[in-house]
């Protein structure tokens, strides 16, 4: 949880809020098809609860936040360029809308979707 303070009192930003921004930003990035469960627990969670949140991990500490994304990428794209650009845009959007520094964005490519096998 991130805590900030203003004249009126404290502001808490829960990881959930950061995840929402990161998810939206990742899914708007070119080449990203979907998020992917990172582990068994998430896979199971996804099975029992359709709205379960998966594919994004957020860790916060005093001086910022680390984000880890698990993604499915479109087959046929240069993966390195896609992942660079996702990381950049997630960092930018989280910093811009939430106002806390993003220290790292790790991108795990969990799979590729083949919509056209050429």
């Amino acid at each position: 949880m991130t805590t900030q303070e203003n004249a009126q009192g404290k502001i808490y930003i829960l990881p959930q809020a950061i995840k929402t921004v990161a998810r939206h930003s990742a899914l708007q990035s070119y080449g990203v098809i979907s998020l992917a469960p990172a582990n068994l627990a998430e896979s199971v969670g996804r099975f029992v609860n359709k709205d379960a949140d998966f594919g994004i991990e957020v860790e916060t500490d005093d001086d910022g936040v680390n984000i880890s994304l698990n993604l499915i990428i479109e087959y046929g794209l240069r993966i390195r360029t896609v992942t660079d650009s996702v990381a950049e845009s997630v960092k930018y959007n989280v910093e811009k809308t939430i106002g806390i520094p993003v220290k790292r964005v790790d991108v795990n490519v969990r799979g590729l979707r083949i919509s056209n096998p050429d």
């Binding site: 939206h24 899914l27 708007q28 990035s29 070119y30 080449g31 990203v32 098809i33 979907s34 479109e74 046929g76 794209l77 240069r78 360029t81 896609v82 660079d84 650009s85 811009k96 919509s115 056209n116 050429d118």
Partner: protein, 560 residues
């Protein structure tokens, strides 16, 4: 980026190759024309960035992607369109640079799929290829953002769907495509608010438009390698940069502001100028045109007489370039770094200005690479800087956020042990340099430097390249803006005011020492007056001043 002009075949040859249906050679020629025209307009596309500091590289990324594609296709030239397009798409995929490059590679991938197994391409097939290109491009993203290159390929395809049923002539189909592309680019600010806020059209979409316009220009026999009468806003005339590449026949630079007569025709005016000189640029703003040209000594008055015939001359500026160049060259002696002892850690610093380079050298940098905002060094340049140093242990200070990636790539291709300190500006670089222990371990040094860069804060004063509102700060094009740790903080009408406003926003009590590095365009006297004022306003702070020589930023300020 060197823009090697591609030699296009003679007119007869062109006609033969472009007889509809087009074969593989003809398609190759169309792609070449698209690339050439994109290269000609590359700087314009780069200038369409949405942040008021120049850091756009969409044009460059698209050019590099197209070049990779064309290189691949030219390895195995084929008379068969299917084969040709397949190789082209393959090259685009491998060479895709940046987001726009990735989308472009998807467009060609879809395009190629539709042409698979075809010998030649008629208008119907061209239309189907565009449909496939559009579909493939949209498949790459779950939540497509409209007002981007995606919108432009969609609109182009819709126009082609109509036109392909009306005509069998490739030129007519391309006219419809280019018109639709032009209209589509113009709608992008309506679809994407950030573009409207920044007062620009989408850069990737514009790049795609130029590719198709290049194809059309080829068929119509119009030149592809000269910046034609493409009217740009005044602010985009890169007058300062044109100075760097002076060739023979460019003794004088003449800039004329004029109000044209009613019957003024830009195309004709442009043609006349071409007989007088080179590096021609014409800009328009609120009824006034600005013309920029480089001419020979004995032709230096011709642009004036010529312009007087077509309008009322308001203002003339003339400069002796040869003289200026000589002066610049005298000033720009390369900065020498002291040799390092074998095996010690060597630091490679990227520096945007001569003054800053000298400081890096005096702090013990082993090599300096020129580069910064809008002039990122390549991976090759970085590697060349440290490859010959007598050590296996290197630390790179990129000193710009856009160069960090190139530094990482340089680290990958070298066998040396390389540490990268993610410095985003020169003050952070200096802070890191001060912690250098040349005979320590790489890890110790990295740790100390990474800590050091968090301790220095940086202010930057520059001129907004366009009108924009970001995070509540309203900025007019040409206004002076101040950034604090990379964030747009204030806007003002002069450097002096900007500095004052920036200091007002910064918690000055936290710091003890302020160092100002002044850049191009700031004179010594102006800096002195400025610094006197700062000393008066902040008597408790230690104020230092250095000539940084950096472009774009009038001032870089380190707060410690």
């Amino acid at each position: 980026m060197n823009s090697k002009p591609i030699t296009l075949p003679s007119e007869d040859e062109r006609h033969r190759l472009l007889q509809s249906p087009v074969n593989g050679e003809g398609l190759m020629l169309l792609f070449e024309a698209g690339l050439t025209w994109l290269m000609t307009n590359q700087q314009y596309v780069n200038s369409l960035n949405v942040f008021p500091v120049p850091d756009g590289d969409t044009g460059t990324n698209m050019v590099l992607t197209m070049q990779a594609a064309l290189n691949e296709a030219s390895q195995t030239p084929s008379r068969n369109v299917g084969e040709m397009a397949r190789m082209f798409a393959q090259g685009a995929l491998m060479g895709a640079r940046g987001n726009s490059g990735v989308i472009l590679s998807q467009i060609w991938r879809g395009f190629a799929r539709a042409l698979d197994h075809y010998e030649t391409m008629d208008n119907g097939l061209f239309m189907r290829a565009l449909q496939e290109a559009r579909n493939t491009a949209y498949k790459g993203v779950v939540r497509p953002v409209e007002g981007t290159i995606l919108t432009v390929i969609k609109d182009i395809t819709s126009a082609a769907e109509v036109e392909a049923t009306q005509t069998t002539k490739l030129s007519e189909l391309l006219v419809a495509i280019v018109e639709a592309g032009d209209a589509s680019v113009k709608t992008t600010p309506e679809l994407l608010p950030i573009l409207k806020q920044a007062g620009v059209v989408d850069s990737g979409g514009t790049g795609l438009f130029f590719i198709f316009e290049g194809m059309l220009r080829l068929i119509q026999g119009q030149p592809l390698d000269v910046t034609t009468a493409k009217v740009k806003p005044l602010s985009e005339l890169e007058l300062a940069n044109t100075l760097e590449t002076i060739e023979e026949g460019q003794d004088y630079e003449v800039v004329i502001d004029f109000a044209p007569k009613a019957e003024f025709r830009l195309e004709d005016y442009y043609e006349g100028l071409e007989t007088i000189g080179t590096s021609i640029q014409v800009g328009e703003g609120e009824g006034i045109y600005r013309m920029h040209i480089h001419t020979l000594l004995d032709k230096r008055y011709e642009p004036i007489a010529y312009t007087e015939a077509v309008g009322t001359v308001k203002k003339i500026m003339m400069e002796n370039l040869q003289d200026q160049m000589n002066q610049r060259q005298a000033e720009e002696e390369p900065v020498k770094c002291a040799p390092i002892n074998a095996g010690e850690i060597g630091v490679v610093a990227v520096s945007p200005g001569v003054g800053l380079s000298k400081i890096f050298a005096s702090l013990g940098a082993a090599a300096i690479v020129e580069g910064g905002q809008t002039m990122n060094p390549s991976v090759k340049e970085l590697v060349a800087a440290f490859e010959n140093l007598p050590t296996d242990r290197i630390i790179i200070l990129p000193n710009n956020k856009n160069i960090i990636l190139a530094a990482q790539n340089a680290a990958k291709v070298s066998v040396k042990q390389i540490g990268i300190i993610p410095t985003r500006n020169a003050p952070q670089g200096f802070a890191a340099m001060l912690r250098l222990v040349p005979d320590g371990t790489l890890e110790e040094n990295e740790e100390a430097m990474n800590e050091a860069i968090t301790e220095v804060h940086t202010g930057e004063i520059t001129v907004a390249t366009r009108t924009v509102e970001i995070e509540g700060v309203q900025v007019e094009k040409g206004e002076v803006i101040g950034l604090y740790d990379g964030k747009l903080t204030i806007s003002a009408s002069s450097v002096e005011e900007a500095l004052k406003a920036l200091f007002g926003k910064v918690n000055m009590g936290e710091f003890e020492r302020i160092t100002l590095f002044y850049g191009e365009g700031m004179t010594q006297t102006r800096v002195n007056t400025l610094v006197d004022q700062v000393r008066k306003d902040y008597p408790g702070h230690e104020i230092e001043v250095h000539d940084g020589g950096q472009p774009h930023y009038q001032l870089i300020i380190a707060f410690e």
